[in-house]
Amino acid sequence: MNLAEGVQVVSFGVLAFLVLGTALGVVLLSNIVYSAFLLGGVFISISGIYILLNADFVAAAQILVYVGAVNVLILFAIMLVNKKEDFSELPRRWIRKVATALVCVGLFALLSTMVLITPWAIAPQPEIPLANTIVTIGKHLFSDFLLPFEIASVLLLMAMVGAIILARRDFIPELAVEEPIATALTLPERPRELIKSEK
Protein backbone atom coordinates (compact mmCIF):
# COMPACT_ATOMS: atom_id res chain seq x y z
CA MET A 1 0.00 0.00 0.00
CA ASN A 2 1.59 3.19 -1.15
CA LEU A 3 -0.30 5.62 1.03
CA ALA A 4 1.42 7.91 3.48
CA GLU A 5 1.30 6.71 7.05
CA GLY A 6 -0.87 9.55 8.28
CA VAL A 7 -3.41 8.85 5.57
CA GLN A 8 -3.43 5.18 6.56
CA VAL A 9 -4.06 5.96 10.21
CA VAL A 10 -6.79 8.48 9.45
CA SER A 11 -8.61 6.16 7.04
CA PHE A 12 -8.28 3.31 9.53
CA GLY A 13 -9.87 5.55 12.17
CA VAL A 14 -12.75 6.50 9.91
CA LEU A 15 -13.34 2.88 8.90
CA ALA A 16 -13.15 1.68 12.50
CA PHE A 17 -15.70 4.32 13.52
CA LEU A 18 -17.98 3.16 10.70
CA VAL A 19 -17.59 -0.51 11.67
CA LEU A 20 -18.36 0.07 15.33
CA GLY A 21 -21.24 2.47 14.66
CA THR A 22 -22.98 0.22 12.15
CA ALA A 23 -22.40 -2.86 14.33
CA LEU A 24 -24.02 -1.09 17.29
CA GLY A 25 -26.88 -0.17 14.97
CA VAL A 26 -27.28 -3.82 13.94
CA VAL A 27 -27.52 -4.92 17.54
CA LEU A 28 -29.50 -2.07 19.07
CA LEU A 29 -32.03 -0.89 16.47
CA SER A 30 -35.52 -2.23 16.90
CA ASN A 31 -36.44 -2.46 13.21
CA ILE A 32 -34.95 -5.61 11.75
CA VAL A 33 -34.81 -4.26 8.18
CA TYR A 34 -32.61 -1.34 9.26
CA SER A 35 -30.40 -3.86 11.03
CA ALA A 36 -30.03 -5.91 7.86
CA PHE A 37 -28.98 -2.91 5.78
CA LEU A 38 -26.57 -1.72 8.46
CA LEU A 39 -25.06 -5.22 8.43
CA GLY A 40 -24.17 -4.56 4.80
CA GLY A 41 -22.47 -1.36 5.99
CA VAL A 42 -20.42 -3.36 8.48
CA PHE A 43 -19.28 -5.74 5.75
CA ILE A 44 -18.30 -2.95 3.34
CA SER A 45 -16.34 -1.07 6.02
CA ILE A 46 -14.51 -4.24 6.99
CA SER A 47 -13.54 -4.82 3.38
CA GLY A 48 -12.09 -1.30 3.37
CA ILE A 49 -9.95 -2.25 6.35
CA TYR A 50 -8.81 -5.34 4.42
CA ILE A 51 -7.66 -3.11 1.59
CA LEU A 52 -5.67 -1.05 4.11
CA LEU A 53 -4.06 -4.31 5.25
CA ASN A 54 -2.84 -5.16 1.71
CA ALA A 55 -5.42 -7.88 1.09
CA ASP A 56 -7.17 -6.96 -2.12
CA PHE A 57 -8.45 -10.41 -3.05
CA VAL A 58 -10.04 -11.06 0.32
CA ALA A 59 -11.62 -7.60 0.27
CA ALA A 60 -13.25 -8.40 -3.07
CA ALA A 61 -14.34 -11.81 -1.81
CA GLN A 62 -15.76 -10.19 1.31
CA ILE A 63 -17.93 -7.84 -0.71
CA LEU A 64 -19.01 -10.57 -3.14
CA VAL A 65 -19.82 -13.22 -0.58
CA TYR A 66 -21.04 -11.21 2.38
CA VAL A 67 -22.79 -8.26 0.79
CA GLY A 68 -23.86 -10.14 -2.31
CA ALA A 69 -24.89 -13.45 -0.83
CA VAL A 70 -25.23 -13.49 2.94
CA ASN A 71 -26.86 -10.09 3.30
CA VAL A 72 -29.31 -10.77 0.49
CA LEU A 73 -30.09 -14.14 2.06
CA ILE A 74 -30.82 -12.44 5.38
CA LEU A 75 -33.08 -9.92 3.65
CA PHE A 76 -34.97 -12.77 1.99
CA ALA A 77 -35.36 -14.49 5.35
CA ILE A 78 -36.73 -11.28 6.84
CA MET A 79 -39.23 -11.07 3.98
CA LEU A 80 -40.26 -14.69 4.46
CA VAL A 81 -40.86 -14.38 8.18
CA ASN A 82 -42.10 -10.81 8.31
CA LYS A 83 -44.84 -10.85 10.83
CA LYS A 84 -45.38 -7.84 13.00
CA GLU A 85 -45.28 -9.36 16.40
CA ASP A 86 -44.90 -7.53 19.64
CA PHE A 87 -42.77 -9.65 21.87
CA SER A 88 -44.38 -10.18 25.23
CA GLU A 89 -42.66 -8.38 28.04
CA LEU A 90 -40.58 -10.56 30.27
CA PRO A 91 -40.04 -9.75 33.92
CA ARG A 92 -36.52 -8.81 34.98
CA ARG A 93 -35.30 -8.58 31.41
CA TRP A 94 -33.25 -5.47 32.11
CA ILE A 95 -31.16 -7.44 34.60
CA ARG A 96 -30.17 -9.78 31.81
CA LYS A 97 -29.28 -6.91 29.51
CA VAL A 98 -27.19 -5.13 32.13
CA ALA A 99 -25.43 -8.35 33.10
CA THR A 100 -24.64 -9.15 29.49
CA ALA A 101 -23.34 -5.64 28.88
CA LEU A 102 -21.11 -5.91 31.94
CA VAL A 103 -19.76 -9.27 30.80
CA CYS A 104 -19.07 -7.90 27.31
CA VAL A 105 -17.28 -4.82 28.63
CA GLY A 106 -15.22 -7.05 30.91
CA LEU A 107 -14.35 -9.34 28.01
CA PHE A 108 -13.32 -6.33 25.96
CA ALA A 109 -11.11 -5.04 28.79
CA LEU A 110 -9.51 -8.48 29.15
CA LEU A 111 -8.86 -8.81 25.42
CA SER A 112 -7.41 -5.31 25.06
CA THR A 113 -5.06 -5.76 27.99
CA MET A 114 -3.96 -9.05 26.52
CA VAL A 115 -3.39 -7.39 23.13
CA LEU A 116 -1.46 -4.49 24.64
CA ILE A 117 0.87 -6.45 26.93
CA THR A 118 1.72 -9.27 24.55
CA PRO A 119 5.04 -8.78 22.76
CA TRP A 120 4.05 -9.53 19.17
CA ALA A 121 6.73 -10.88 16.89
CA ILE A 122 6.26 -8.22 14.23
CA ALA A 123 7.94 -9.26 11.02
CA PRO A 124 9.71 -6.51 9.07
CA GLN A 125 7.52 -5.20 6.30
CA PRO A 126 8.98 -5.95 2.87
CA GLU A 127 10.10 -2.96 0.87
CA ILE A 128 7.75 -3.71 -1.99
CA PRO A 129 4.42 -5.13 -0.86
CA LEU A 130 3.23 -8.28 -2.53
CA ALA A 131 2.27 -7.32 -6.06
CA ASN A 132 -0.22 -10.10 -6.69
CA THR A 133 -1.85 -11.70 -3.69
CA ILE A 134 -4.11 -13.83 -5.87
CA VAL A 135 -1.15 -15.83 -7.17
CA THR A 136 0.16 -16.43 -3.65
CA ILE A 137 -3.24 -17.43 -2.32
CA GLY A 138 -3.75 -19.76 -5.29
CA LYS A 139 -0.39 -21.41 -4.68
CA HIS A 140 -1.31 -21.94 -1.05
CA LEU A 141 -4.72 -23.33 -1.94
CA PHE A 142 -3.32 -25.90 -4.33
CA SER A 143 -0.25 -26.99 -2.43
CA ASP A 144 -0.30 -26.97 1.35
CA PHE A 145 -3.96 -26.15 1.85
CA LEU A 146 -5.28 -28.57 -0.75
CA LEU A 147 -7.12 -30.86 1.67
CA PRO A 148 -8.98 -28.05 3.49
CA PHE A 149 -9.88 -26.60 0.09
CA GLU A 150 -11.48 -29.84 -1.07
CA ILE A 151 -13.20 -30.32 2.28
CA ALA A 152 -14.59 -26.80 2.02
CA SER A 153 -16.13 -27.60 -1.35
CA VAL A 154 -17.75 -30.73 0.08
CA LEU A 155 -18.97 -28.63 3.00
CA LEU A 156 -20.61 -26.17 0.62
CA LEU A 157 -22.35 -29.01 -1.18
CA MET A 158 -23.62 -30.46 2.10
CA ALA A 159 -24.83 -27.04 3.24
CA MET A 160 -26.71 -26.54 -0.01
CA VAL A 161 -28.43 -29.93 0.18
CA GLY A 162 -29.18 -29.45 3.88
CA ALA A 163 -30.65 -26.00 3.37
CA ILE A 164 -32.90 -27.26 0.59
CA ILE A 165 -34.10 -30.20 2.67
CA LEU A 166 -34.70 -28.08 5.77
CA ALA A 167 -36.52 -25.25 4.01
CA ARG A 168 -38.61 -27.40 1.68
CA ARG A 169 -42.33 -27.50 2.32
CA ASP A 170 -43.50 -30.97 3.18
CA PHE A 171 -46.69 -31.81 1.34
CA ILE A 172 -48.69 -34.29 3.35
CA PRO A 173 -50.47 -36.40 0.74
CA GLU A 174 -54.12 -37.34 1.06
CA LEU A 175 -54.57 -40.80 2.48
CA ALA A 176 -54.77 -43.18 -0.39
CA VAL A 177 -58.00 -45.15 -0.77
CA GLU A 178 -57.55 -48.61 0.63
CA GLU A 179 -57.43 -51.05 -2.25
CA PRO A 180 -57.95 -54.68 -1.48
CA ILE A 181 -54.66 -56.36 -1.93
CA ALA A 182 -55.31 -59.31 -4.15
CA THR A 183 -53.63 -62.61 -3.37
CA ALA A 184 -50.28 -61.22 -2.56
CA LEU A 185 -49.16 -64.07 -0.37
CA THR A 186 -51.04 -66.99 -1.82
CA LEU A 187 -49.41 -69.46 -4.12
CA PRO A 188 -50.78 -69.51 -7.62
CA GLU A 189 -51.14 -73.29 -7.71
CA ARG A 190 -52.87 -75.40 -5.18
CA PRO A 191 -50.98 -78.06 -3.30
CA ARG A 192 -51.78 -81.46 -4.48
CA GLU A 193 -54.64 -83.15 -2.71
CA LEU A 194 -53.33 -85.61 -0.16
CA ILE A 195 -56.23 -87.98 -0.55
CA LYS A 196 -55.62 -88.41 -4.25
CA SER A 197 -51.98 -89.14 -3.66
CA GLU A 198 -52.95 -91.83 -1.16
CA LYS A 199 -54.97 -93.53 -3.79
Partner: protein
Protein backbone atom coordinates in the same frame (compact mmCIF):
# COMPACT_ATOMS: atom_id res chain seq x y z
CA UNK B 1 2.72 7.12 14.07
CA UNK B 2 1.79 4.39 11.68
CA UNK B 3 -0.70 1.60 11.43
CA UNK B 4 -0.03 -1.01 14.07
CA UNK B 5 -1.19 -4.54 14.78
CA UNK B 6 -2.76 -3.51 18.09
CA UNK B 7 -5.28 -1.22 16.41
CA UNK B 8 -6.63 -4.08 14.33
CA UNK B 9 -6.79 -6.45 17.27
CA UNK B 10 -8.57 -3.97 19.53
CA UNK B 11 -11.08 -3.13 16.80
CA UNK B 12 -11.71 -6.85 16.30
CA UNK B 13 -12.16 -7.33 20.06
CA UNK B 14 -14.71 -4.51 20.19
CA UNK B 15 -16.62 -5.97 17.24
CA UNK B 16 -16.58 -9.40 18.90
CA UNK B 17 -17.99 -8.00 22.14
CA UNK B 18 -20.77 -6.17 20.29
CA UNK B 19 -21.59 -9.42 18.50
CA UNK B 20 -21.77 -11.37 21.75
CA UNK B 21 -24.03 -8.75 23.30
CA UNK B 22 -26.39 -8.99 20.32
CA UNK B 23 -26.23 -12.79 20.33
CA UNK B 24 -27.36 -13.01 23.94
CA UNK B 25 -29.86 -10.19 24.27
CA UNK B 26 -31.72 -10.14 20.96
CA UNK B 27 -35.09 -11.85 20.76
CA UNK B 28 -35.52 -11.94 16.99
CA UNK B 29 -34.01 -15.11 15.58
CA UNK B 30 -32.78 -13.42 12.41
CA UNK B 31 -30.91 -10.85 14.49
CA UNK B 32 -29.15 -13.71 16.28
CA UNK B 33 -27.84 -14.88 12.90
CA UNK B 34 -26.64 -11.35 12.12
CA UNK B 35 -24.75 -11.30 15.40
CA UNK B 36 -23.07 -14.57 14.48
CA UNK B 37 -21.95 -12.96 11.22
CA UNK B 38 -20.49 -10.09 13.26
CA UNK B 39 -18.52 -12.60 15.37
CA UNK B 40 -17.13 -14.31 12.28
CA UNK B 41 -16.12 -10.97 10.80
CA UNK B 42 -14.27 -10.06 13.98
CA UNK B 43 -12.30 -13.29 13.75
CA UNK B 44 -11.56 -12.56 10.10
CA UNK B 45 -10.27 -9.12 11.01
CA UNK B 46 -7.88 -10.73 13.50
CA UNK B 47 -6.64 -13.14 10.85
CA UNK B 48 -6.01 -10.36 8.37
CA UNK B 49 -4.12 -8.31 10.92
CA UNK B 50 -1.87 -11.22 11.78
CA UNK B 51 -1.40 -12.02 8.11
CA UNK B 52 -0.28 -8.49 7.32
CA UNK B 53 1.95 -7.83 10.31
CA UNK B 54 3.40 -11.22 11.27
CA UNK B 55 3.56 -13.02 7.93
CA UNK B 56 3.66 -10.44 5.14
CA UNK B 57 5.42 -12.63 2.58
CA UNK B 58 3.60 -15.95 2.68
CA UNK B 59 0.11 -14.66 3.38
CA UNK B 60 -1.37 -17.71 5.08
CA UNK B 61 -3.79 -15.62 7.13
CA UNK B 62 -5.63 -14.57 4.01
CA UNK B 63 -6.10 -18.22 3.02
CA UNK B 64 -7.61 -18.89 6.44
CA UNK B 65 -9.87 -15.86 6.00
CA UNK B 66 -11.12 -17.27 2.72
CA UNK B 67 -11.97 -20.54 4.47
CA UNK B 68 -13.78 -18.66 7.24
CA UNK B 69 -15.82 -16.80 4.64
CA UNK B 70 -16.77 -20.14 3.06
CA UNK B 71 -17.88 -21.62 6.36
CA UNK B 72 -19.80 -18.45 7.20
CA UNK B 73 -21.73 -18.62 3.94
CA UNK B 74 -22.65 -22.27 4.56
CA UNK B 75 -23.65 -21.45 8.13
CA UNK B 76 -25.88 -18.58 7.04
CA UNK B 77 -27.71 -20.76 4.51
CA UNK B 78 -28.34 -23.61 6.94
CA UNK B 79 -29.21 -21.28 9.82
CA UNK B 80 -31.77 -19.38 7.80
CA UNK B 81 -33.32 -22.65 6.63
CA UNK B 82 -33.59 -23.79 10.25
CA UNK B 83 -35.20 -20.49 11.25
CA UNK B 84 -37.69 -20.87 8.41
CA UNK B 85 -38.58 -24.41 9.52
CA UNK B 86 -39.01 -23.26 13.14
CA UNK B 87 -41.20 -20.37 11.99
CA UNK B 88 -43.45 -22.75 10.10
CA UNK B 89 -43.82 -25.03 13.09
CA UNK B 90 -44.18 -22.54 15.94
CA UNK B 91 -45.48 -19.49 14.02
CA UNK B 92 -43.13 -17.12 15.84
CA UNK B 93 -39.50 -16.01 15.72
CA UNK B 94 -39.27 -15.01 19.35
CA UNK B 95 -36.23 -16.71 20.85
CA UNK B 96 -37.90 -16.83 24.27
CA UNK B 97 -40.61 -19.16 22.99
CA UNK B 98 -38.29 -21.76 21.53
CA UNK B 99 -38.26 -23.71 24.77
CA UNK B 100 -39.23 -27.17 23.59
CA UNK B 101 -36.07 -28.67 25.04
CA UNK B 102 -36.24 -26.80 28.34
CA UNK B 103 -36.41 -29.16 31.36
Amino acid sequence: MHLQLEYCLILAAALFCIGIYGLITSRNAVRVLMSIELLLNAVNLNLMGFSNFLDPVGIKGQVFAVFVITVAAAEAAVGLAIILAIYRNRDTIDMEQFNLLKW
